[in-house]
């Protein structure tokens, strides 16, 4: 659980950064004239924190197979879209204009979700490469 919380914390910072970028792009496209107060700085942090919660679905004491991981990831994404929609639109019925915005928000959630995983994969690849290099050194030292 400790490792899972640590990873969720790392994910939170990546999500928060990507939400800032998504808010800038979506805002520029849908409401370029909109002006905000200082409270807007809190939104990415709040969204980032809430968006990290569905990540707890990945926690299990047993070792998951690749298929199990993929299924849970899909569930995580669906929960994430539902949570963000609830936060943005409050569960009320959507007008035609809001529907277009909702599609944009859902699409950006999917893009951020994929981007988070690509970034984590790149970081893990770097760690794996370092461990392989260390392993080669370790083997040489062990043989001697």
């Amino acid at each position: 659980m400790k490792e899972h919380i640590k990873e969720t914390f790392g994910t939170f910072f990546i999500i928060t950064t990507l939400i800032c970028i998504a808010m800038y792009i979506l805002g520029s496209v849908f409401k370029p004239e909109q002006r905000f107060g200082y409270e807007v700085f809190l939104y990415p942090v709040i969204y980032g924190a809430v968006a990290s919660v569905p990540g707890l679905i990945m926690y299990t004491k047993n070792e998951m197979s690749i298929a199990q991981v993929i299924i849970r990831k899909i569930l995580q994404l669906l929960m994430l879209i539902a949570v963000v929609m609830m936060m943005v639109f409050g569960g009320s019925s959507l007008s035609h204009d809001q529907l277009i915005t909702a599609i944009g928000v859902a699409a950006s959630v999917v893009v951020i979700f994929i981007a988070v995983h690509i970034i984590q994969w790149m970081l893990d690849s770097k760690t794996a490469l370092k461990m392989t290099e260390d392993l080669e050194k370790w083997k040489k030292a062990y043989n001697n």
Partner: protein, 146 residues
């Protein structure tokens, strides 16, 4: 067969070399004996007992309270539990990488990322074993030693 023993410098790695015309049963027997001097485990397969050299083990896995030892192409069963192997092999080239697997680090050819913060070890025989995220710090720590 002529036997030669040569003293080498202490900075160099010790080795045993066999010069032969072909690798026949006699030579294999000598190899088995040398490997057994580095430690052996008593294991079973098809109701027969075998002695396998520790250095030949790729990984040890616990499945449904049974313990299996995997070699390059073979698999044997042992009555010992995984934690007993962990105790016996501590300080050697073996490390626990998940709740159910102990791997021989000398048989790992590469470490690669798996999904969900895990990694997998690509072994020299092509097999892959998962390193759970809980054991990743232990593996990193072990790689820093020596």
């Amino acid at each position: 067969m002529e036997i030669q023993i040569r003293t080498i410098d202490e900075t160099k790695k010790e080795y045993i070399e066999i010069g032969c015309h072909k690798t026949d049963e006699k030579v294999q027997e000598i190899v088995r004996f040398i490997k057994s001097r580095q430690g052996c485990f008593e294991v079973n397969r098809d109701e027969k007992q075998y002695q396998i050299p520790i250095v030949d083990i790729y990984y040890i896995e616990s499945v449904d309270e049974r313990t299996f030892l995997y070699l390059k192409d073979d698999c044997y069963e042992s009555r010992k539990r995984l934690y007993e192997f962990e105790e016996v092999l501590s300080g050697r080239q073996f490390i626990r990488i998940s709740k159910s697997v102990i791997v021989n680090m000398m048989k790992i050819s590469a470490i690669k990322p798996a999904m969900n913060g895990r990694f997998f070890c690509q072994l020299e025989n092509g097999e892959k074993v998962i390193v759970s995220r809980k054991y990743v710090p232990d593996l990193k720590e072990k790689l820093k030693t020596n």
